[in-house]
Symmetry: C2
Subunit: 210 residues, 2 copies
DNA sequence: GATGTTTTTGACCGTACAGTCAATAAGTGG
DNA sequence: CCACTTATTGACTGTACGGTCAAAAACATC
């Protein structure tokens, strides 16, 4: 049972909202590029409160990564699994369309919102995973979720794969395309470049190509 | 004609060696993660000498990026173009093998040397390109080199492509796989994961798959 | 050896950083 | 109203950072 009443002075902030603000800053600036003062400004909390509630900068970063996994990664995985009710891609043979939709979302982020933040998971993998074991564990866990979701989408393409190994191989290939597109987008690639990368990936998903 | 004799006190260091040391540090730690004291330690030069010879930290970073382009990127591009004499892949129909060799090099870096630095170009794209226009320009230029080299390799696969547009599309797809594999490698992916990503990319390079 | 030029060196500067802490505020239960 | 607990606050600390500079050193020329 969760405590409905808590003793002591109540918190003035919503933990989820603060975590979103923290995640946004790390997402845009990276771990090293973010100063505690940036987080103070973004959250509206004072430094002491941040430390009291979440711990030091590293702990804050790791909590932001977990939050990203529970929100953004979960949305992407649900899309691939056909669990998103509102996109009309839940049919058991809509695997191709789900994968196309995920890659298109990367393009739309650039085309529609001028996105340059990319994917926090990708950013963390590149600039923190090799240097911090806890970050690496968190990233690895999210990658496993994503890979499994890709496998589910691939299994939802009729007559494509002949074995479990083949499905996993294609999933890992698509995952690398996904992250590659994120990198290219951060580098300032045009929409055309990203569309070509997407088209090339999807071209391998027709049964007659094997 | 270059000046053989120069006036004033001669430099004690070799500019190229220093640039290699600087590049290595940025490569491993990124721009924000690198302190000037790291560069002082790695190069053996004092801070004042570094500033006098190369400029501030940002200028040093940009020079390291250019050096990377002239060395590592050039080697990769030469491989794709069949210009590497020692690899036996210069035959005009060896495009597939060249691409396979490039992707295998990413795997070997992990498998043989336990590499976690990835690709400096990829690292710069992710954590500096969106924030610094000069870095973005440098990264964009290297990406263009790489894409053009991929196109040449693809044209060296008999009977694969039917148009210039198709060649470019496949090149951009392969480029995204390459960077995706770099991201996965930094995240700590196993050799098996990288091999699957590579195999998935190469599976699209057979003429009968179209 | 005096002059001019460039490099080296280490001390120095101001600041921005991550993290701490004691005082105070805002709740609860008795 | 009084303990008791927890949260907020802003001042504080020490340090690590990027960058500067004057003095000395090392060469060439004359």
């Amino acid at each position: 049972m969760s405590e409905v009443v808590s003793i002591g002075r109540p918190r003035k902030f919503d933990e989820r909202e603060v975590l979103i603000a923290v995640m946004d800053v790390f997402w845009e600036k990276g771990f090293e590029g973010t100063a505690m003062s940036d987080l103070v400004e973004a959250t509206g909390l004072k430094k002491g409160s941040l430390y009291g509630a979440f711990g030091d900068k590293r702990a804050l970063y790791l909590k932001a990564l977990v939050f990203y996994d529970e929100t953004e990664v979960a949305v992407a995985a649900d899309l691939l699994r056909g669990r998103n009710q509102s996109d009309g891609l839940s049919a058991p043979d809509a695997g191709y369309q789900r994968i196309a939709a995920l890659l298109q979302a990367v393009i739309d982020a650039v085309a529609v919102h001028g996105d340059r933040r990319g994917c926090l998971l990708c950013n963390a993998a590149v600039d923190q995973a090799p240097l911090d074991p806890a970050t690496e564990r968190s990233v690895t866990a999210s990658l496993a979720t994503l890979e499994a979701a890709f496998v589910e989408a691939i299994r939802a393409i009729p007559d494509l794969i002949a074995s479990v190994e083949e499905g996993r191989r294609i999933a890992r290939h698509l995952q690398s395309v996904y992250f590659g597109m994120r990198v290219l987008a951060k580098a300032g690639a045009t929409v055309e470049v990203l569309q070509d990368a997407k088209a090339g990936a999807l071209a391998g998903l027709y049964p007659h190509s094997h």
